[in-house]
Subunit: 436 residues, 2 copies
Amino acid sequence: MPQFLDTSDTGFETEFAALLTAKREDAPDVDDAVAEIIADVRNRGDAAVIELTAKFDRLELTPDTLAFSEDEIDEACAKVSDDDRAALHLAADRIHAYHARQVPEDESWTDACGATLGWRWTPVGAAGLYVPGGLASYPSSVLMNAIPARVAGVPRLVICAPTPDGVSNPLVLLAARLSGVDTVYRIGGAQAIAALAYGTETIKGVDKITGPGNAYVAAAKRRVFGKVGIDMIAGPSEILVIADADNDPDWIAVDLMSQAEHDESAQSILITDDAAFGQAVADAVTRRLETLERRAIAGKSWRDFGAIITVRDLTEAAELSDRIAPEHLELCVADPDALAAKITHAGAIFLGAWTPEAIGDYIGGPNHVLPTARSARFSSGLSVMDFIKRTTLARMTPGALRAIGPAAERLAVSESLEAHALSVRARLNRLNEAAE
Amino acid sequence: MPQFLDTSDTGFETEFAALLTAKREDAPDVDDAVAEIIADVRNRGDAAVIELTAKFDRLELTPDTLAFSEDEIDEACAKVSDDDRAALHLAADRIHAYHARQVPEDESWTDACGATLGWRWTPVGAAGLYVPGGLASYPSSVLMNAIPARVAGVPRLVICAPTPDGVSNPLVLLAARLSGVDTVYRIGGAQAIAALAYGTETIKGVDKITGPGNAYVAAAKRRVFGKVGIDMIAGPSEILVIADADNDPDWIAVDLMSQAEHDESAQSILITDDAAFGQAVADAVTRRLETLERRAIAGKSWRDFGAIITVRDLTEAAELSDRIAPEHLELCVADPDALAAKITHAGAIFLGAWTPEAIGDYIGGPNHVLPTARSARFSSGLSVMDFIKRTTLARMTPGALRAIGPAAERLAVSESLEAHALSVRARLNRLNEAAE
């Protein structure tokens, strides 16, 4: 059974604090191994990547077969059923439409002293998307990573998607093609991240790496951060549902299970203002767990990390939600907009009982790559912004420099940076000479 | 002397590649020491911070004196001269005006199928700014870090500014007050970063940490990244000046020196389409270096990492500039806007000879915290965006779910995530029952 908490109980604060800080992942210390792999790929390039792929993925590659050929991708795409293809197309179109609205405007203005200021946005030169292999090889993740990059105008977009034992997912390749990916490499792990960051003879380095991965991938991303940009270090998935009694307990139960089935370390929490409803949801989960295909995973996640919290009212629910800072937040209440207005920290909010979180995973339009492990306090889901960067612009006129230059000179002197001051003074002197 | 390169020389590519990859910093491996400090602060809180401050900064503190009192700040502010105070005020006002334009709009729209989509922006809960002590204790950096956070609406804003031997900089404290900082702690190093990330009895943890620091601070920021947000891992400063022959060589020389004087590992590069002008700038630098206060630092930076590159034309200059991806880029040419349009990767561009880079350091308005070490390829300078985050919003109607739900269900099935599919199906079934 999950934990049952009640804000009216005297022990609540202690229990809730424990829930917040529960360590859900045993992060194995792979840092030294990863450092070695990265050094190996930097030193030996393709040869290291090929050896490591043989070792970890039991797959023999050559420089010529590191990437899928166009023929192989054609062949894979042809295997996809019409229904799956149509669904993937609809998802791609909707994700594209949503992200197209995120492209920010360049700005330029001239202020009172005559200085022209502004900024402009440009795409990163190349992006590399990591797509896990095996069980968690999700075509939806390809769309969610690649489409924002394409909308941003990134000129070169590659994927690394390991294919353990040579097994690949045709839907992943179709999703890559749909979203305009240039090259798909069948490599994974820390060696793929190293190849993307530093380049090899065959694989050209990129400027930005995004996408989820296992502990090796996460440690490698942390290490190459700075040399290239990365998105985030993703943790196990979470959902928080705030639901009043006017809901079908079974809907809420499957919503909770849709996170729990991802991973044994996933976390599903219900907050309700009606204890009896909370119990009804717990019962519905128990029923669903009898038949769910992934009941072993979902059941363990629910037992170990699931929680049902009874609150006095929805304002209290909003306060707890901000302390949880959930990745996914469903508001199954009469006035979800009013409740959403009380909440500050959440990756994505799903408003009303007709909006199951799974809509956001696939087809709603917003990105499903979202901040986990309470990082919604300070970070956002993946977006076009992750694939562009801003250059600030400034242009002084002689008049503008005369107006504000002396203050700059003064501050430079106060910081003992004489050359800074002289660079302004040399120009001010010219203006003074001209005025004489 | 700096290096002289010429794109017409046969050896140019090799020399330029070496310039790009020159290791300018001997990053000492402080990772183990930093891990120990962080663990110590997590375990022992205030006591560890106080001991480490006594050890590294030779300063005895108590929990009550970890932060400057209001009286101490009043006293420090009173010491600042009227001229310095006026300059700092002008800088703060201009930085505020520039950053106020960066606040993005929330969005909400309803699409053809009836789904309401959008996003909204909210500030991080609390931000901690690191301000180095000693030589590099710059009031301008306080403004550049704190004002964007305040414009973002961050409700709690603290500074950690070490005061080795108890020596503090009144201008730093005035800058903190001007920009609305709530608390200034006189602690530094990895222990300050650990305290900001994890909190102690006295120091409440924050959600985002920004600001430059030494190798210990950088390693600590890398380690706490994920637990809290960080801005970037800053490297030594750089400037690239592209100048034609129609410039005063002495202006360009002091501009180059204004980066070189920061740090022996700073880098100043001139690209010009006139070799004789390049030589004239080199001569002017030599003259300036005879009297410059920080000539030891600037001279070493210039000799070790400075370069003058002669190109055939300005288009070639733009291409080289993008390979360098400079932190600061001055365009001292007849039509700087036209040249800027050819350039993709730069932290900040200063347009025209009347815009010395130092204007951007202090008073122009744009931020002076900018991507170093070629990271302008994928990242931006500090901005309001660093202190806010986006929550995506989605609301389905029954009709919208009927329109796009089946595709979500299909994709969930294709990914073997049954509960995801069921969470959509349960609702679709209700709609079908109602329709019957």
